[in-house]
Amino acid sequence: MTPSAPSPMLEDMEEGTMAAPRRKKVVAKKVVSARKTAAKVSASHKASSVKKTTAKPPAPPAKKPASKSPASAKGEVAQEMDALSLFVRTYARF
């Protein structure tokens, strides 16, 4: 493992917050499924997006291909150079 820059220490918080409910579970799954339903766009290689509303502006035009990168030289598309996609792929495979 290679160390990265150390994170700052946590600041003071009130006693006993560990067990205290501090976040609302606001209809989380419904929101997700609604968005998922609304977002049935095939676009397997489009720029990634979260469909929050239908009024969202159209997806940006195809990203500038990272033509000089080794990845694109192997035929991968622009989304493959998306950092969040890389993160998901890294942990989804096992």
């Binding site: 493992m1 290679t2 160390p3 990265s4 820059a5 150390p6 994170s7 700052p8 220490m9 946590l10 600041e11 003071d12 918080m13 006693e15 006993g16 917050t17 560990m18 501090r22 976040r23 579970k25 606001v26 989380a28 799954k29 929101v31 997700v32 968005r35 998922k36 977002a39 766009v41 676009a43 397997s44 489009k46 720029a47 990634s48 997006s49 979260v50 469909k51 929050k52 940006p60 990203k63 990272a66 000089k68 990168s69 080794p70 990845a71 989304q79 150079m81 998306d82 950092a83 969040l84 996609s85 890389l86 993160f87 998901v88 890294t90 942990y91 989804a92 495979r93 096992f94």
Partner: protein
């Protein structure tokens, strides 16, 4: 965390740290790293994604074109919390025949137990890794034999030396794991103190063990990022995938 977390700032920094870890571990070239980083800075969808993840926490959110992700709140030994981003498998089907077992060695203090084990369960569960620790088998008559059996039966081990000054048990367990040839993650606390609660002093790793690869950390937020980012390579290296 100090004050409220800005979701997109947190996600962007988390992913940037992930990229840097990939770079330093040789999994990305410098050119790839900078392309990824540039795309990350320009990702206009990241704000909506980040807000969705924090709204749903701790439930996973299926983000289109990405897959399931979740924000969970992990614990520091001083009982404060910090958010943590996890990528999850797309399906629950188990490709591995059986779960892996990780033996965990640490100082037996309530604050450490409640934070370290809690965090590790969240970190490992998506990867089908179960925890076991010394004293896990309450029916065991001999603690030392139980420790040896626990380490022997484990697929990997994790040791944390936080608060171990004059309490060498963890180092003995490290020695046992080393002798048995077990893959292990040795976590070495190098901070001075946690802010909210005073922790017992932490001894330095004995010189005989300093040749081991150690993960030095100043907080559990720091440690768990490093663990998480290094976990895929660690499992692959030891053929545990």
């Amino acid at each position: 965390m100090s004050g409220p977390v800005d979701p997109v700032v947190f996600i962007r920094q988390f992913i940037a740290d992930f990229l840097e870890s990939q770079l330093l571990n040789g999994l990305l070239s410098t050119e790839e790293y900078h392309v990824y980083l540039r795309h990350l800075q320009k990702n206009t969808n990241l704000t909506a994604i980040s807000e969705l993840l924090f709204e749903n926490s701790p439930d996973p959110a299926l983000v289109e074109n990405y897959g399931p992700l979740r924000i969970v709140y992990l614990r520091e030994p001083d009982r404060s919390e910090f958010p943590f981003l996890q990528g999850l498998s797309k399906q629950h089907s188990k490709e591995r025949m059986k779960d892996l077992v990780c033996f965990v060695g640490h100082r037996f203090l309530e604050d450490i137990e409640r934070s370290l084990r809690f965090n590790l369960v969240h970190l490992f569960e998506p990867h089908q890794i179960k925890l076991r620790w010394s004293g896990y088998d309450l029916s065991a008559r001999d603690v030392f034999e139980d420790v040896v059996a626990g380490i022997r039966g484990a697929d990997l081990c994790l040791f944390d030396n936080l608060g171990t000054l004059n309490r060498p048990n963890v180092y003995i367990e490290i020695g046992i794991a080393h002798a048995l040839g077990k893959p292990m993650l040795v976590c070495e606390y190098t901070g001075t103190r946690f802010k909210r609660r005073r922790m017992p002093d932490t001894g330095s790793v004995p010189s005989d063990l300093q040749g081991l690869i150690r993960i030095q950390y100043r907080s559990y937020e720091d440690l768990f990022r490093r663990l998480y980012f290094g976990l895929p390579a660690f499992l692959e290296k030891h053929q545990l995938l």
